[in-house]
């Protein structure tokens, strides 16, 4: 990039630490005045070698490691990993365990979107937004904490079930929090929609068309904001999602405003899903009966084979490819996070825009560099 500079051009390095970034990565921008002529992302500042670590841990130990791929969506990461192992074992969790998983994963989606919204407000100068959303997020985290015993890294899912049953009084505690959340989501929507500066900074900014988004390979809210109704929970239902009533939220504009709107709508759908689960959840065991799988799974060997499992993460399509050689440790695990392709699509998307808009566009992706780097 450096060699082809003209006299009125310059290079600015944003990061690795910058307030607009969801984690450390470096963004090299070639500028002509305020306009971005070229951009390049440099990763590696938070590379943890998770794929290699997983090869050296037993399957059960791996659950705590996949939590650390991205702490915000630890439960979906676990679902993906545990789903892979269950497919290899030919194990299906009992219905109650599946419902509990859906409940905690949707709660996890809510708190991730809440933090994402707050951060986005902060990036574009709407700092008070963060204080509103972080308060509601705390309520959701309390609910997750009640079930899993931890706020962010839970190690809650187990092969064939979940570690603990729902605590007593969970439903009674969850209903008022969800009702309150429904109300505040409408407030947030009102707040965003009535704010002139917010509208100016998001409407028509960072527009992605459906065809472009598909060829860039992005997924999740960024793709759905362009009008493509692609959601793994519908496309390839896992757990009990096929029995639940929910719709895939889409917008057509494909700009930053649409991405935020999709997240707001998705939060409403998540609440709807949790409410259904709380009503429909059957009683029964949380581990498959007649097997040795339980809270304290003994050293287990997984039959040789390979599997690719996908789940819907709050940020899009999360996939894992697992190869087993019949031993007690995975032979190879490839983690395909949703933010990786989205971050890859950032440079072409910000080319031709201004530096100020770049912050708005990058923030609307709601990223997690930790997961892109792994």
């Amino acid at each position: 990039m450096e060699e082809m500079l003209e006299s009125n051009e310059m290079i600015i390095h944003l990061g690795p630490q910058h307030p607009m970034q969801p984690g450390p990565f470096r963004l090299n921008l070639k500028l002509k005045g305020e306009t971005i002529m070229d951009a390049e992302v440099e990763l590696g500042y938070i590379h943890k070698g998770i794929e290699k670590i997983l090869e050296n841990k037993t399957y059960l130990q791996g659950i705590t490691i996949v939590d650390r791929i991205c702490y915000l969506v630890a439960l979906t990461n676990e679902e993906c990993y545990v789903g892979c192992v269950e497919k290899l074992l030919g194990l299906e969790p009992p219905e109650r365990a599946q419902y509990i998983r859906v409940i905690v994963e949707e709660l996890s989606r809510l708190q991730s979107h809440l933090l994402g919204l707050g951060e986005y407000g902060e990036f574009i100068g709407f700092v008070s937004m963060f204080m509103y959303t972080i308060k509601e997020r705390e309520d959701i985290l309390t609910l997750i904490d009640m079930v899993t015993g931890a706020r962010v890294t839970h190690s809650y899912l187990r092969f064939g079930g979940v570690r603990d049953d729902l605590p007593e009084g969970f439903k009674e505690k969850a209903i008022p929090i969800l009702n309150n959340l429904k109300k505040v989501i409408s407030d947030y929507e009102e707040m965003f929609n009535s704010d002139t500066i917010y509208r100016e900074r998001t409407i028509g900014i960072g527009v992605l068309t459906a065809d472009a988004a598909k060829s860039l390979g992005v997924s999740g809210p960024v793709l759905r904001a362009t009008g493509v109704p692609y959601d793994i929970r519908k496309v390839e239902p896992y757990l009990v999602y096929k029995d639940l009533d929910f719709k895939v939220c889409t917008e057509t504009a494909g700009d930053c405003f649409a991405r935020v709107q999709v997240r707001l709508d998705e939060m409403r759908e998540s609440i709807h899903i949790i409410e259904q689960c709380l009503d429909m959840i059957p009683s029964g065991p949380i581990f498959p009966e007649g097997t040795s799988y339980g809270r304290r799974t003994p050293v287990m060997r997984v039959p040789a084979g390979e599997v690719f499992h996908r789940v819907e993460d709050p940020r899009g399509e999360m996939g894992m490819y697992m190869v087993s050689d019949g031993s007690d440790k995975p032979y190879r695990v490839k983690v395909k996070g949703p933010y990786y392709p989205t971050l890859q699509a950032l440079p072409p998307l910000i080319k031709g825009t201004t530096v100020a808009d770049m912050v708005s566009i990058s923030g609307s992706m709601d990223g997690c560099t930790s997961e892109a780097d792994r």
Binding site: L216, G217, K336, R374
Partner: protein
């Protein structure tokens, strides 16, 4: 799109290059591809079966067989079938044609596979390290014979 139709038409179109094709389930199919035809096959999949994006590219090391495998997971926004396409590469000179010209988002996946496994992607527009520092290039840390901890990690600290 039906899994069986895809597999049959793929083996019919490339009888030489495609081998060991099979169906794992309604939404998962697999095939081995000859390493010289990977790009051609990807182009055909994209044009004929709406396989419009890559889920991932990764490598797997099999030292006993003296082979590396490049694994492509190819998916579509139109139908739920995911195709796992694998190419066997010799471990001492793993080289395969890059598919960036077909699937734009292969760029980073191939860079990562290159730095972690040493699989060289020919005609890649910008094949350099992505997540690792430049001076680790050549160590290929995700290969099974990588020494790793503690022999290699602390070398700069003492």
């Amino acid at each position: 799109m039906d899994a069986r139709t895809i597999i049959e038409s793929l083996t019919g179109k490339f009888p030489e290059a495609i081998s060991e094709a099979g169906i794992d389930s309604q939404v998962r199919i697999r095939a081995y591809v000859d390493k010289d035809n990977a790009k051609e096959v990807c182009q055909y999949l994209k044009d004929s079966f709406q396989f419009d994006h890559l889920c991932s590219v990764c490598g797997v090391d099999y030292p006993q067989r003296n082979e590396l495998e490049a694994v492509y997971h190819i998916a579509s926004f139109e139908h739920p079938v995911v195709l796992m396409l694998k190419a066997r590469l010799p471990r001492d000179s793993p080289e395969i044609e890059s598919v960036v010209q077909v699937y734009w988002n292969a760029n980073w996946y191939e860079r990562e596979t290159y730095e972690l496994f040493g699989i060289f992607f020919k005609n890649h527009p910008n094949l350099k390290a992505l997540v690792l520092p430049e001076d680790m290039l050549g160590e290929w840390p995700l290969r099974k014979d990588y020494e790793g901890f503690p022999n290699r990690t602390a070398r700069n600290l003492v």
